[in-house]
Assembly symmetry: C2
Homo-oligomer: 452 residues x 2
């Protein structure tokens, strides 16, 4: 790699061990390449300098925040630059316009905490909210637990400042509540996974803070009853602010790492919340009644916010429970709501057919599931079986009218699968869109769109 | 023009008088060109045939619905084809997924009426809702009265079927609640004003129907007090479902066409609604108190939906009142909320400086105003003064951090102004985006992006 510009060299990570920590994200099997540089940008100008240099010398650039990606979209590339923007973490709140102007390095949870002083809220809440950054949220159009009521990241991004390959700074969108002057390129950048440019500032729409949420926890003996519960809630006029599913194997796995009172032979658990101002108590009681009618065998309804949070603890233990079970592939498929139960069944049939165990959890209110398939990394046959199951699950989602990714993005992990969803013509069109912004293909090459 | 394919000739409008009615939209001074054809498509295949033919023969195509555009975006072009899609008006509602799959010719108000049977709602409500089509709403990313609470058309479009020049049928987006597989091209088509392709189907997100709205009407003696009222409402935790402004000259104009009880020497009127389930009475009482504290000199609060609707009658008479006053240019600027009062003042100063009268009305909750400047079409000096005032108002919006169009779009009327907002680099980029989908420039040429 030719010498970086002097202004950028000051922000290079020079310690090889430290650099290696920037080489990987949270995707399975991510490893550092042999040669790469890490630049920790301190300003928009640093980003401009890096993209000017990288375009001139045709050096691949991987934009990066907190490395919580599960798809390998922020893993270093051989001979490339990791451009970390965590330090661009300014927050400016405009109460009157109900917007926040933030840097891409702002941690999602920090923004939420910052906004409580203003009585405002930024809804998108990926499970990694305490660590993930807004830049990464924008890159993947991140969702989370709130989506059933509040939608996804794209629904809150009004405008962006983006640095393009070559160093040009462009602005998309607006600060005003409305605006239709020219094409909407904001939406194009949201979810583009670092393949077009580097976001250096975002204008986010905020909403008045809802009430602290109350929770219902409902236990079901079988999947059909649980799905009847989901359907009953979806028919309610007041959409829950959270509607999460844990299937039987998820409950069993969680109970292995701690006693959260879950049955280990059950069909599953639904967690439901309401944050509707002045109606949380009424809503959770009504949700509980709907779930009882649908066949819930046990119900816990929280009376206050502390208890509401306690009821979610089992859900939070899922991540540790999966880690404790060993190597795994985690899916992110999304299907029409009416096919959610069928999808859970098929996941277990598929995994079983490959001699593997699986569990299903996810955002039941959106049809967005995160099936997890466990395998033995030391056994090549088991690894191959997991890969095959992974593919079969994607195909099951397609068969049910769904998509291969609801909120995690395509990244490196699912790039080989994208053409199967979009088709050749659409792949070619999207590559042409990329080439408009990134003619030499330096932006996160091979991610989302496979190298040809 | 070479002979159209036989399948399409069956749908040609052959009566010249009828054809001329398809040559114009609702924009000021729109006139039919000398040579053009009108095709009334009956199916997606008709659209495919027309775009295949038009691409092969380099014939300009103007996609068209109900011709309610105020910017000339659906006026026939010389030597071109008007491709009217009003007949593509199917509606398929999926209650469980809370989506509607509709043809572009569905009238906005008809969709709303259709959904009441399901207890569902499609919020976007341009003032032309009884006649405008969803296709046109998508083309302009239409807003309306509901936006302050519910957002704009783009917030409800999950996916599109689009026919491109040459006849290729592409699909964007998804039917599932979430999905991030590849770039979001749905957002690119929403608001593209017929410059990229022709929408033949849309998947629309629906919401549970809110309560019938109740209304507050508040009279103010001066603009500053009225803006204090807007700010007070914007600070309320429960966002109104409608927040409309009529300035003093608007009230005077309305009183000229009928007695709606408005003062003719006042500062203005705010109309405010709540449709929040179970809280409409409480909300409008609270809104009324906020407005009284802000300085409202007279208040009317509706107790039921009938009365609530009556209070909006004066607002509805505005269109007739403007027509009665003669020739006019209607603006569609949008500014940050804190500058709304300043914008109203500047509009009157600008109009007065050109010897013209103006009135301001619009969506106070969004900062989206529709100033109207009256002129004498028989007097070239007056016409020139109106054009100059129009430009000065756009520049005032820019000066206040706003945009030249909040919801009507750029069309033909504001195409000469777009570069002033976007800048040369962004204009070039957006033209390149257009060229990707429409390499020969047959789609609504000259609209949005001026011919070069």
């Amino acid at each position: 790699m030719p010498l970086l510009p002097e202004s950028v060299r000051a922000h290079l990570v020079t310690d090889a061990d430290v650099a290696r920590t920037y080489a990987v994200d949270s995707s399975p099997g991510a490893g550092a390449p042999e040669h790469f540089e890490v630049v920790r940008a301190r300003s928009r100008e640093d980003v401009v300098e890096v993209l000017r240099y990288a375009e001139a010398h045709r050096v691949p650039v991987v934009p990066q925040g907190a490395r919580t990606s599960t798809t390998g979209s922020s893993v270093a590339l051989e001979g490339g630059i990791v451009l970390n923007v965590e330090a661009l973490d300014s927050i400016e709140v405009d109460e009157e316009e109900r917007i926040a102007v933030v840097g891409p390095g702002v941690v999602n949870g920090n923004l939420k905490a910052h906004l409580t002083d203003y009585g405002l809220a930024y809804p998108p809440d990926p499970a990694s909210s305490p660590t993930c950054t807004i830049g990464g949220n924008i890159a993947t159009n991140a969702g989370g637990l709130c989506c059933v009521k509040y939608g996804v990241t794209a629904d809150y991004v009004r405008g962006l400042e983006v640095v393009l390959p070559g160093g040009e700074v462009m602005r998309t969108g607006r600060r005003t509540a409305k605006g239709v002057a020219g094409y909407d390129l904001t939406g194009l950048f949201v979810g583009s996974e670092g393949t077009l440019g580097v976001v250096t500032e975002a204008v986010l729409r905020l909403i008045p803070a809802p009430d602290p949420a109350l929770t219902v926890l409902a236990v079901f003996d079988d999947l059909d009853a649980m799905m009847a519960g989901v359907a009953a809630l979806h028919g309610d006029r007041h959409t829950p602010s959270l509607l999460e599913l844990l299937d039987g194997p998820s409950l069993a796995a969680i109970q292995e790492v701690g006693d959260f009172g879950f049955p280990t032979d059950g069909g599953g658990v639904l967690l439901v919340q309401s944050d509707r101002p002045d109606h949380t108590h009424e809503d959770v009681q009504r949700y509980a009644e709907l779930l009882r009618s649908a066949g819930a065998t046990d119900l816990a309804v929280a009376d206050d916010a502390t208890e509401a949070d306690l009821l979610l603890q089992g859900r939070r233990a899922l991540h540790a429970a999966m880690e404790a079970r060993g190597h795994r592939l985690i899916e992110d498929i999304c299907v029409p709501l009416r096919h959610l139960g069928e999808l859970v069944s098929r996941v277990h049939t598929i995994a079983g057919g490959h001699g593997l165990e699986a569990l299903c959890s996810g955002h039941a209110g959106d049809g967005n599931l995160h099936p997890c398939v466990f395998f033995d990394a030391a056994d090549p046959q088991s690894v191959a079986a997991a890969d095959a199951a992974f593919g079969d699950i994607v195909e099951a989602a397609w068969d049910l009218g769904g998509t291969l990714t609801g909120e995690h993005g395509v990244g490196a992990l699912k790039a080989p699968w994208l053409a199967g969803e979009l088709g050749a013509a659409e792949m070619a069109r999207q590559r042409a869109v990329k080439a408009l912004f990134d003619p030499h293909g330096i932006m996160n090459p091979g991610r989302v769109y496979p190298l040809t």
